[in-house]
Symmetry: C2
Subunit: 482 residues, 2 copies
Amino acid sequence: MAPTVTLDTINPKVLKCEYAVRGEIVTLAQRLQQELQSNPGSHSFDEILYCNIGNPQSLGQQPITFFREVLALCDHPAILDRSETQGLFSADAVERARQILDQIPGRATGAYSHSQGIKGLRDTIAAGIQAHDGFPADPNDIFLTDGASPAVHMMMQLLIRSEEDGIFCPIPQYPLYSASIALHGGTLVPYYLDEETGWGLEISELKKQLEAAKSKGIAVRALVVINPGNPTGQVLAEENQRDIVEFCKKEGLVLLADEVYQENVYVPEKTFHSFKKISRSMGYGEEDLCLVSFQSVSKGYHGECGKRGGYMEVTGFNADIREQIYKMASVNLCSNISGQILASLVMSPPKVGDKSYESYRAEKEGILASLERRAKALENAFNNLEGVSCNKAEGAMYLFPRIYLPQKAIKAAEDANITPDTFYCRRLLNATGIVVVPGAGFGQVTGTWHFRCTILPQEDKIPAVISRLTDFHKGFMDEFRD
Amino acid sequence: MAPTVTLDTINPKVLKCEYAVRGEIVTLAQRLQQELQSNPGSHSFDEILYCNIGNPQSLGQQPITFFREVLALCDHPAILDRSETQGLFSADAVERARQILDQIPGRATGAYSHSQGIKGLRDTIAAGIQAHDGFPADPNDIFLTDGASPAVHMMMQLLIRSEEDGIFCPIPQYPLYSASIALHGGTLVPYYLDEETGWGLEISELKKQLEAAKSKGIAVRALVVINPGNPTGQVLAEENQRDIVEFCKKEGLVLLADEVYQENVYVPEKTFHSFKKISRSMGYGEEDLCLVSFQSVSKGYHGECGKRGGYMEVTGFNADIREQIYKMASVNLCSNISGQILASLVMSPPKVGDKSYESYRAEKEGILASLERRAKALENAFNNLEGVSCNKAEGAMYLFPRIYLPQKAIKAAEDANITPDTFYCRRLLNATGIVVVPGAGFGQVTGTWHFRCTILPQEDKIPAVISRLTDFHKGFMDEFRD
């Protein structure tokens, strides 16, 4: 009997969707890992090092103690009044858990919340945004979501009617965007970041691409900016952000600001500014710009990917559209409550004078300082390789080195029917167990080749990673040098 | 300046989507609740009683202690080795937390997992399914999701190409299905449950509606069955389930089995059987039927809605399609880890001899027995009302009484430009603070009127709920009786 469902009879948008950071290289890595488990010594390395995805705790980063204390107490409030709890948990974690429980109707952490998330937690988050930005934030503008991804999907679903609706995305981009645009049947309108100027974003490029899209009959609805950049790691200059805001206002584009790496800035000369802060400081308000900012508990110094917490702050939309967004949120009932609580903690961590403050600060600064050192070490290592150039890691969790591949390697990739960057990454994985993602998955200027590598291996492993990378690369070049 | 985004320029599928259980009646209830808070005594009741949604813990149901102990320990594993922990947590919860942590790569509950969920937890779930069904279950068939809703969306997204693709849904149905079909641009093909026979499902009705759909050029791709029924509360007979399996096999339909209420059966003469068990017991395997079973941690006796845990078991699809489903799961990275852990606990609760077994059993049986009593009491109360008939609550968490509204009330509703059932429910809310959902949101035979009411108010409140309902209904009938 013929199968009921075949590739010919499913939604072609699903077929079109690709998500490279969990694509074929990762599937190969999982197979190698199984081989290592069932047959130790079967490869020249003894572990798979997943540098394909920003997943810090999978590589050994420890969670922030205060956050986890509060989560545990909210999961099992019955122990709050027990004397043993005083010895096990910090006093301010107990107090914070009580405060949070008081904000939850019926103290029920096992109940569906309001579709946008628990009101008291949204109050805390709005206050946190306001403290960061210096401009008001409204808890009614906050939609808590299971990580940032569902929030991005929601906006794509709202805005995209057909393939004649375009969404501006940087190239290179984080493939959630290309995947989501494909799933919702729109058109990704690229704007290329300029590698020569540290992945700079030029307004002239936006204008050029907007015209090109228009000439093809595509109405561009929104502009995605990822700041700090993923996979490119740059932090936008304030001046540049103002130009982007002006451009979106002028062209009537919704500004979709992916700001999930806002805590991940590693260079003293750059500071993160939210697009809301920038637009408000330009005097623009609700009437001037539709702006959505995405934030996640998965990134920052805490890296709580598995908790699936995040939010979007939605401003500038009229009441009718707000109602539609609310309805979309309602269909999925609510995001998970632990993730909601964690989002509130991230936006309101212990403060000077709190019992946990010193340990919190030490954990946070330790992680950020280490990330900075790791970014620098890997950046230097890449720049020391023959035919590789790597821009400065100003922020986020990635490096995106360019590899100038020899013709012989390009030919070998052609023969293997894969892209040259995939060829390189597959070779790297097979030789070293290091998993990186080919640039093709993010988009790159035709004829250039890159890969994305996280800066997340734990610091004591970095020298070994660098030496494995370096040895592999030397061998690769010796094999393929023209 | 004109707003950038208007109702005319958004995705019309979003506009078309409706989700009644968080619709206008709930918005009104939230407003009344705010009024009660800011101005106590402003209404003739002093609390809003949310009977609109199956959200047990919001109405005071307590979580299962063992589950919450394990979750808390997995959130903060640092306390596992502390002596105070022995006094605070049951020994088997500590042991279970250790086992679960051992199943998580790097013991990292803060890391993204495999896109389908943590392998060790899927092993546990598959073993649980196997123990229930008596037929093998494969952990590679399990996709852990943030509650059942995202799993349903994923299947709709996979199957629906255009409005010429139809999905069979029971009428009345849980509005997640109509909402999801609308969002993905398909056509809901109704099959009517027969209220006279306790919301029976007739194969003749399926055949009739399939022909009707075909004659309109609609290709029906899948059949949704909700068992136990939502909003209708019936538990399907085994015989009936076999007919459904046979029908899906014959017509090449994917069987989407919503089995989230599998633990919620309140009558001794009925037993829940999964569709997988039924189809395997008929001798049908992977080659014969595409079958997806949805399960959730939100329902059952535990009712952990806020944890957003759930899974789908996907069988009968070929490898190509499996790969596409995997890719869709990957785009959202993974479901939240606490929800994953909870799903494994629900499918593998304490067993006879475990330290927590007796308290677990007492909590579980206490809740289920109370739900049974509450269902019965509300069912009787509805049947005692003039012009109301209510079928037996065999399972799930709802009653769906039919109200024979007087012409005068129907006329008044017309004047107010709302459906008669909405008119009744709004009146009920304004008079009593009790929130129920008009039948229109679920679908009903034209000219009949119903509402859905959960059986979830805590037991000590049931007499007051009944007397408020009864008094309201008498007054309503006195006002509108023809």
